[in-house]
Amino acid sequence: MIDALTLVLASSIRLALPLAFAACGEYIAERSGTINISIEAMMLGGAFSAVLGASITGSPAVGLICGVLTGLLIGFVHANFSHRLTVNTYVVGLTLNLLVLGLTSFLFDLVTLVPSQVSVLAIPLLADIPVIGPALFAQRWPAYLVWLLLPAIWYAMYRTRWGLQMRATGENPSAVDATGIDVNKRRREGLLLCGLLAGLGGAYLSVGEVGMFNQNMTSGRGYVVIAAVIFGAWTLRGAMAGCLVFGAADAMRLALPALGVQLNPQLLIASPYILALLAMVLFARNNRSPSAYGKPFTRGLP
């Protein structure tokens, strides 16, 4: 029983981590008012270029960086198309997803990739704690970045001027504009950060968890991330909780057969989206999305 628990918990964490990195990014983007659909593209691009970078340089660490940069690049494209050129953000998002899926599959055929994976870093003592030890303290080293990211992001959003402006931008862009702040610049920044973190998430999936790439590797994780942010009512805490819950749902699905339990697969696969919707319905009161959520901003008279 204990082993089973340990097993599922560890598995949940492993499955949640790539989501968590990306969710940090999506959270920022959404708070500044963008529903970033292209996060799927960002993750996939990150996953691919990470393995590519790793197999060229032979260092998975470098691979991670490549992944991050690719995510950043995709974020840059999205940002400039939708928040400088005011092309509808969903057009950009959908198109980018199409583009990156096609491109990675295409390149995946052209180049030959060598499997490579970052090493596990077990924290002495802590890793030996029963149940949570293996789950939390025996991860591959990039996993621990989360512990740096979360406080950093929270501080940036709630304690810095930039964060204040980001949040305001998501709520009432024209007011922010009248105050002399470049709304679309903030939103572009949001998307860049999102790309960066989503890229990291994808990279962690490929060179972190799996150690290799395969076609459409992320297979919809980006949308799960969006669901997680919604599930978390646009708070960082909540988003992380969402990732954990969804990770756990998958872990169950994958581990339970081994433990002799069977559940309806379709239901489990759909569970993140169902849960996200339920969360919004049940906690409708305090569950408010940013007012300018997904609304493009073009400067007009106030």
Partner: protein, 389 residues
């Protein structure tokens, strides 16, 4: 000293004024056309270089695209068939958008629609044509219902439409998958102990959408006509009817609409239902017109692309017609291109690049207007300083 500064002014000003006037005039005249040319050629350049990486000559690829979509009447028909469902979905999207509601869940509504249509076509007995009509209606209703969930979530629990519709897409996919893996539901039937694939039986031919024209001549399913008819109707109603007027009002200012006696929940809700119904119908047309059998992947992103059509057409139903056809060409030609040895997903890449290329110029025009304003301000500033000196 003042006149020296003035001279300096002139000197700096001189080159500006003497720069080839013809060229500038021409640039002034056709900037948008130019940007279109530029962005499209960039897109084609990228596509070409990618194609070359596969060892196929870009020209051959272009020819293949053309052959697949436009060369013969038959292939035009194929492009039309591919375009029809997208156009229907797009028309629906426009309705919701007009009421200020952003439905991005067409993919889900379409899939559910196809499923319902299939169920009707298979389980409902009766004369073919009747059943066909019923299954089309069934598809529309199912799509509407699926959108209805989002509407309910919005008006009862305040879940933003975008979120509701988006998340329901991924639930819908699982619903279909469930349906086609359950023998007691839609999974294909066969001799006992035989291995069944996750798909429905082939629909009996009487419930297929009638085909118009004969191979090798121009031939396409009647879905194309349905799509065109619906789009025109939507265009007219939105533009000229009281209903359209109210929708516009609601879309632009809820509060004012409310004061004018419009219930957002009712009018907006129905708008959303309509767009869902259209998407569902798109699915039904896809099923009865093309595949004739339900499979998990039946939509082939038809919902997403339909949405894309509507957006690229800037939510203008009439404009959506050519755009949808453009997508039809890419889809039909794309399949053909693939069959010449270019990897399929390269077609997606090309499609994506082209969409961005088409979206770029109008957006760029707006941006340039801003730049001009800034530039003008700066020019004035220079002038001002000159006067001050």
């Amino acid at each position: 000293m003042s006149d020296t500064t003035v001279l300096a002014e002139e000197r700096t000003a001189a080159p500006r004024s003497h720069a080839s006037p013809h060229l500038r005039l021409w640039l002034k005249g056709y900037p948008t056309l130019l940007t279109y040319l530029a962005s499209l050629s960039v897109a084609l350049g990228i596509s070409a270089s990618l194609v070359m990486m596969t060892g196929v000559s870009p020209w051959a690829a272009v020819v293949a695209l053309y052959e697949g979509s436009l060369s013969t009447p038959a292939s035009v028909g194929l492009a039309l068939d591919k375009a029809a469902p997208l156009l229907i979905v797009a028309a629906g999207t426009v309705i919701a958008a007009r009421a200020g509601l952003f439905n991005i869940g067409q993919e889900g509504q379409l899939t559910v629609g196809a499923t319902a249509a299939c169920a009707v076509a298979i389980f409902v007995p009766g004369p073919g044509p009747l059943v066909l009509v019923l299954s089309l209606i069934g598809g529309a209703l199912a799509g509407a219902a699926w959108a209805g969930i989002a509407a309910l979530l919005f008006y009862k629990a305040g879940v933003p439409i975008v979120i509701g519709t988006l998340l329901l897409v991924f639930i819908a996919v699982q619903v279909v998958f469930f349906a086609v893996t359950q023998p007691w539901l839609l999974q294909e039937s066969g001799p006992e102990g035989d291995v069944m694939s996750p798909q429905s039986d082939l629909l009996r031919t009487e419930v297929w959408l009638p085909h118009i024209g004969e191979y090798p001549g121009l031939n396409f399913t009647s879905g194309v006509l349905i799509a065109l008819a619906l789009t025109v109707i939507v265009a007219v109603l939105l533009r000229h009817s009281v209903w359209g007027f109210k929708m516009k009002m609601l879309g632009m200012n809820k509060l004012a609409a409310r004061r004018a006696g419009i219930s957002a929940a009712v009018l907006g809700g129905t708008a959303l239902l309509w767009s869902g119904a259209f998407a569902g119908l798109g699915g039904a047309v896809l099923l009865t017109g093309g595949n004739h059998r339900l499979q998990p992947g039946i939509s082939e992103n038809g919902g997403w692309d339909g949405l894309l059509v509507a957006l690229v057409a800037r939510e203008n139903p009439v404009l959506a017609i050519p755009v949808a056809f453009f997508f039809g060409i890419l889809r039909a030609g794309g399949g053909f291109l693939a069959s010449t040895g270019v990897p399929r997903y390269l077609v997606d890449v090309v499609t994506a690049v082209l969409v961005l290329a088409v979206a770029f110029p109008p957006a760029f025009r707006i941006l340039r207007r801003e730049w001009r304003a800034r530039a003008a301000a700066r020019a004035l500033a220079v002038e001002g300083k000159g006067m001050a000196a």
